[in-house]
């Protein structure tokens, strides 16, 4: 009795796997002749895409969650967790972007925030208080670079893959907008904001588990001032992914905050590099 059922199940797995590999193989067949070692063509729907079955996605979600909890410095695991659990939230985000005229432009033009696309020298010459100057200052003070984001691998829709890539690239800009440094407290505050804004399960998980690594005084700061501010602003702010930041470097930071409906931060946690426990 269970044997025919398991046969059906196996047949369904094989079919799904075959469909996915067929899709990939069809794209591959166009590209096989490249005898150079660096492949200009790629598998799947976008560069770096790896087609996966629902079971694989579930296993990946569980595995990456465990790995990220064990070792929070494994950013690739956090990224995989976000991709495998965020399908509904990504659809929601994309629809919000589509309904916003600027967001719609972003979805069409697909800008990327990378060192190669940013003109850092021009940004550093902008006046103080402008968004570009403050972003440049943030990059310098915290010794970060916009190129450190992992590529998207497990999202099976090309537009949603762009949305999550944009979310990752906008994360640093959010730090600037919210005025939060990259220490643990700043990261948790930004995660709370993102969780309220995007609804991505990975953000919610990070928001819930992040505070566990804070000491008592920082926890107090989080729960009394920073936390409620982040949540409130996350809920009422305009969709942060719908802003074409690349065209707004000259705009004043205060202006931008007002446009997005974000209050300035109540306190500025110091930009120390120590990871507090």
């Amino acid at each position: 009795m269970w044997l025919p059922a398991s046969k059906q199940l196996q047949r369904w797995f094989n079919q799904r796997h075959r469909v996915l590999t067929c899709k990939a193989v069809c794209v591959q067949q166009l590209c096989i002749s490249s005898s150079q070692f660096t492949e200009p063509c790629y598998d799947g729907l976008y560069p770096g895409h790896i087609p996966t079955t629902p079971i694989q996605k579930a296993l990946l979600a569980v595995g990456s969650g465990v790995a990220a909890l064990q070792n929070p410095y494994r950013h690739d695991m956090v990224a995989v967790l976000g991709e495998t659990t965020g399908h509904l939230a990504l659809i929601n985000l994309r629809d919000r972007m589509r309904n916003d005229p600027e967001g719609y432009t972003i979805l069409i033009e697909r800008p990327r925030i990378r060192l190669s696309t940013l003109d850092l020298s021009k940004m550093s010459s902008l006046p103080d208080g402008s968004f570009g100057r403050e972003y440049f200052r943030f990059l310098e003070d915290n010794h970060v670079t916009p190129d450190s984001r992992a590529d998207v691998k497990f999202v099976d829709n090309e537009e949603l893959a762009y949305v999550i890539q944009r979310y990752r690239e906008v994360h640093d800009l959010l730090h600037t907008l919210l005025g939060m440094p990259t220490n643990m407290l700043g990261e948790v505050a930004v995660k709370w904001f993102e969780a309220a804004q995007t609804g991505l399960p990975m953000c919610t998980l990070g928001a819930v588990l992040g505070p566990l690594r804070l000491n008592a005084s920082r926890l107090q700061t989080l729960f009394t001032t920073l936390g409620p501010w982040a949540l409130q602003n996350g809920r009422r702010a305009r969709c942060v992914l719908s802003i074409f930041y690349e065209r707004r470097w000259e705009q004043s930071l205060e202006d931008l905050r007002q446009e997005l409906n974000i209050e300035p931060p109540p306190i500025m946690p110091s930009a120390s590099k120590k990871r507090s426990t």
Partner: protein, 325 residues
């Protein structure tokens, strides 16, 4: 016969895919992907081989396999334990048990990378020597004074050759990891590490008593060449032993194994080693390797005698053995 039918069917499917792809290509106009020579290629005798389920040229395969093992070298042993739930240790122990090396044997472990077989070999041989010495010591206690004094010259005769293990691998990263393991275990005597290609070994003829290749031969581009090299470097009477993933005979186990391979192993690769594609290659390359009987014929074709195979874990792994006579 069944194999050639399968190949034919696969080629027909590939051709039909290509027909669809060709019409699509005309619309897509990918200038950097030349599909016209591709169409002719299937009828020319340009050397193509498989890389997992992909078709690549032979030079490409070697480069891509190198890259795969370069990426996975650091986490190779952890991944082996995770993927096989530790059973790979039992498989390697069975290989040693079947090998039953005697003290003084010279081993060449090809694609030996992190040194698992070589370490086990040295352990085995040393344990045997210990046991022999203990046996001799025990037997001496019952002898008369005359007999003991007669046996003095024969103890520690030193003329006997020490057993030696040479680990040969094409990939320097894997050898590096192996050397670090050896240093950690404190093993240095009787062990050497050589960079070399299984298709073109850097050794003279008739050098080794035992040639092993564990889970490496499916990554070799020209398996027949590797087998001929194995024949060349073995002494007459030497033994060729190969551990490799093979076809599962039991149909129920086969389905479970397939589901496990394709669903779980790449996920483990992504989570533990951060590399999905290398482990996808691993499970695909297992499916592309010939089955037990076909591989046995290939070994016989290379010139080995008394070729036999043993299935381990229901055919998940097969141990092939042959002699150079």
């Amino acid at each position: 016969m069944a194999v050639s039918m399968r190949l034919l069917v696969r080629r027909l499917i590939r051709l039909s895919h290509r027909n669809v792809a060709v019409s699509r290509a005309a619309v897509l106009s990918r200038s950097h992907c030349h599909w016209e020579p591709l169409f002719c290629r299937s009828f020319s005798d340009d050397r193509n081989t498989h890389f997992g389920f992909e078709t690549v040229s032979e030079e490409d395969k070697a480069k891509r396999v190198y890259k795969v093992f370069e990426n996975v070298a650091q986490k190779y042993d952890i991944m082996n334990d995770a993927m096989s739930l530790g059973i790979h240790r039992l498989w390697k122990d069975m290989l040693l048990h079947a090998m039953h090396p005697q003290p003084g044997a010279q081993l060449l472990d090809v694609a030996g990378g992190t040194g698992d077989i070589a370490f086990r070999f040295l352990d085995y041989v040393r344990t045997q020597q210990e046991q022999k010495r203990r046996r001799e010591a025990r037997s001496m206690q019952l002898q008369s004074w005359q007999e003991i004094s007669n046996s003095y010259p024969t103890i520690d005769e030193g003329g006997r050759q020490e057993s030696r293990a040479v680990v040969c691998d094409i990939n320097k990263e894997m050898l590096k990891v192996g050397k670090e393991k050896a240093d950690g275990k404190g093993i240095s005597a009787g062990l050497s590490w050589v960079v070399g290609d299984a298709e073109e070994l850097p050794f003279d003829d008739d050098q080794f008593d035992i040639y092993t290749i564990a889970f490496g031969i499916r990554n070799v581009t020209r398996i027949d060449q590797a087998l001929q090299e194995a024949l060349r470097v073995l002494k007459p009477g030497g033994r060729f032993m190969c551990l490799e993933f093979s076809k599962v005979t039991n149909p129920v186990l086969a389905r479970i194994y397939d589901a496990y391979s394709f669903q779980l192993i790449p996920v483990l690769g992504e989570v533990i080693a951060g590399d999905w594609k290398s482990y996808q290659y691993l499970v695909e390359s297992i499916r592309r390797f010939p089955d037990q009987e076909e591989f046995k014929y290939m070994i016989e074709d290379a010139g080995f005698y008394c070729v036999q195979y043993f299935n381990l874990t229901g055919g998940v792994v097969a141990l092939h053995s042959g002699f150079k006579l």
